[in-house]
Subunit: 385 residues, 2 copies
């Protein structure tokens, strides 16, 4: 079979892509190293990597003066700043926007409080404001962004909406993807906050070594995200992990045991009340310890349901309350032992309340990678020189 | 790189295997058809398929007299009887042994009642007796069997034992794999009954079109098996699907609502009592209908926990009670609607109480296939001519 011009161009593109993959996640590399990693000849790699430098996908690292005898080889590295992605957490009480380069290094993170009672239009306008601030600080425009992922509360359907259930006022009719599409021409995806946080803990957090993870987003509300066989479990209609909707699982009322603890200052806001209880328990307050026992007793029913259903390797306790895992994990473990046949490891999140936005960054990077693999280097956008 | 003798032999083996795969699951095929399917040349396939016939992996189908003009091509088919597997269901009340050829066609099925109170040694001796009967009827010896899979009740650990929990008396210490290894030299695996039944429903039953399945094994006891993304979910310690162990889930007591239904003949055994209730409900008995409502109300709590956790496409109602799905599914659906955010399809099993043994056959065939792929055609055993 004769090789056509289109075949040649596609083969060159595939080889370029294999050099990009050979550069990423490695220290600066010589042509010889790249040739070995990509399984291509040295002269071919020489040509390909020069083209990648010209196109903005790779950078040259000139050899230092402190080098060994003879002419040292030039080294090349992936140009992580060729493109950027946004990870956005639209929470009840906060908006958190992270700007990341293509290696997942955060360039800019901005967090602003949100009004829990804000209507969808006002909440989305506030999100726009935080995005503006992030882009302005970084000297970028929406055209510099290659993918956006947004985390919201409630199960997200295939259209990116939370029609089944959401604690945000009026939000079941909101369409954040359509709203952002007015400014961004790149792919925009919307995902459930607990699912994103689970992705983040496996990427950069407390469960990097595990393939089977139950993640708890614990705070004034409680939710769960599942990683099974290393893959985020979305569910047939996007509603996996919603065990908290079951009445027999007492997640809705569990945090109330903290808020009704005797001794909480009358002026404390709900979030501060829980923090007061956790600190009082650390200081040995018996009432506070009893309140935490009641909280973990109710929390454990839903966690046990997930553990018995899925038999995971690790349960990660994350979300706002995870800062107080030191006074929660032991009583929670004791309660779980009463319910479960086989007790998984119980770990505290290392990402706290940044996990949702970080998971959004990870999914946005996955989106860029999958477009690179399916459509080639021209697909996401021309790298910015 | 020079091609060594070993390379050549391995390449020939791989090509033979690709012809085996091109034969299987197809009607008898010509060399031309096989060449296209396997991506090999016609002369090469001609040689390979003759060797497969000589080795007992393939059979020739001579062209019939009613043929078209010209000399018709010979056709070849996979010799499904080259090897056989056993699927064994060791239940509380029954022992069911299925002998299958390599295409999953059942050669022999024998079912015998088991004593619910039998000690492990007596139960395993009874299993030996049923296996003897199956092999004798088929004119085979243990050496003709290429893989054995055994289904048991309770979560199965990596050693094939049910140390965590089992309703079979004394069975937590039993080691059925070791027992059978005294007679069979082929691989023997032990798996949980609900998991095997779930595999069977996706293979040949009510959920062949679905990748995300919650399977219920419903009878005097209730259990669950999960297929997620098309793969059996075993769990990190083999204990996935054990939601029934949670006290808040009322599966342990749910069948009691049937047994306590007014009007059941005093002489009825437990299994017959439930059958009486289902029939009475069909005949319009209000007390029986109320008993079924109470049963489904309790059953639904655990099913809803699995549905909310996993958001499956399909829930299959299987096991002994599935013969009465006509009077159970509607009330169960109404109860689930009260608990779930998104209701999956609810279907009745089409395999009934044969599903465990059938799933065991399927896993045994998978075991043969995986050895073929990893070790080649010589691995499972020499085909019996």
């Amino acid at each position: 079979m004769a090789t056509t011009g289109t075949d040649m161009s596609r083969m060159r593109e595939m080889n370029q892509l294999s050099i990009v993959w050979a550069l990423r996640g490695h220290p600066p590399s010589t042509v010889t190293e790249l040739a070995r990693r990509a399984g291509l000849s040295r002269p071919a790699v020489d040509v390909l990597v020069q083209a990648l430098v010209a196109d903005g996908w790779a950078e040259v690292e000139e050899p230092g003066a402190s080098s060994v005898v003879g002419r040292p080889a030039r080294r090349f590295r992936f140009r992580a700043t060729a493109g950027h992605v946004l990870g956005i957490d639209i929470g009840v009480h906060k908006i958190l926007v992270m700007l990341s380069d293509l290696e997942g290094s955060l360039v800019r993170t901005v967090r602003r409080p949100a009004d829990p009672q804000a209507a969808p239009e006002a909440r989305l306008a506030a999100v726009d404001g935080v995005i503006d601030e992030v882009l302005r600080d970084a000297g970028m425009t929406p055209g510099d962004i290659w993918a956006v992922t947004v985390g919201v509360t409630g199960p997200v359907d295939a259209t990116g909406r939370t029609t089944l259930s959401t604690p945000l006022p009026g939000w079941h009719a909101a369409d954040p993807a359509a709203h952002l599409a007015a400014r961004f021409s790149c792919p925009i995806q919307v995902e459930n906050d607990c699912k994103l946080a689970a992705v983040a803990e496996r990427w950069n957090g407390a469960a990097q070594d595990a393939d089977d993870i139950v993640f708890l987003l614990a705070g004034l509300r409680t939710g769960a995200g599942l990683i099974l066989d290393g893959t985020l479990r979305r569910g047939h209609g996007g509603a996996a992990g919603e065990i908290g909707a079951l009445k027999a699982v007492r997640w809705l009322t569990a945090p109330g045991h903290l808020e009704s603890c005797p001794g909480i200052p009358a002026t404390a806001a709900p979030g501060e009340a829980a923090a007061w209880v956790f600190q009082a328990a650390r200081d040995g307050d018996r009432g506070a310890k009893a309140a935490i026992r009641r909280y973990t007793r109710d929390l454990a029913v839903g966690v046990a349901a997930l553990v018995l259903a899925l038999d995971p390797q690790v349960v990660v306790y994350g979300g706002g309350f995870s800062r107080s895992a030191d006074v929660i994990l032991d009583p929670l473990r004791r309660e779980l032992a009463k319910h479960c046949l086989r007790l998984p490891e119980l770990r505290a999140s290392t990402l706290g309340d940044e996990s949702v936005a970080l998971g959004a960054v990870r999914l946005a990077l996955d989106e860029v990678d999958s477009r690179l693999l399916s459509d080639g280097l021209a697909a996401p956008a021309a790298p910015r020189r």
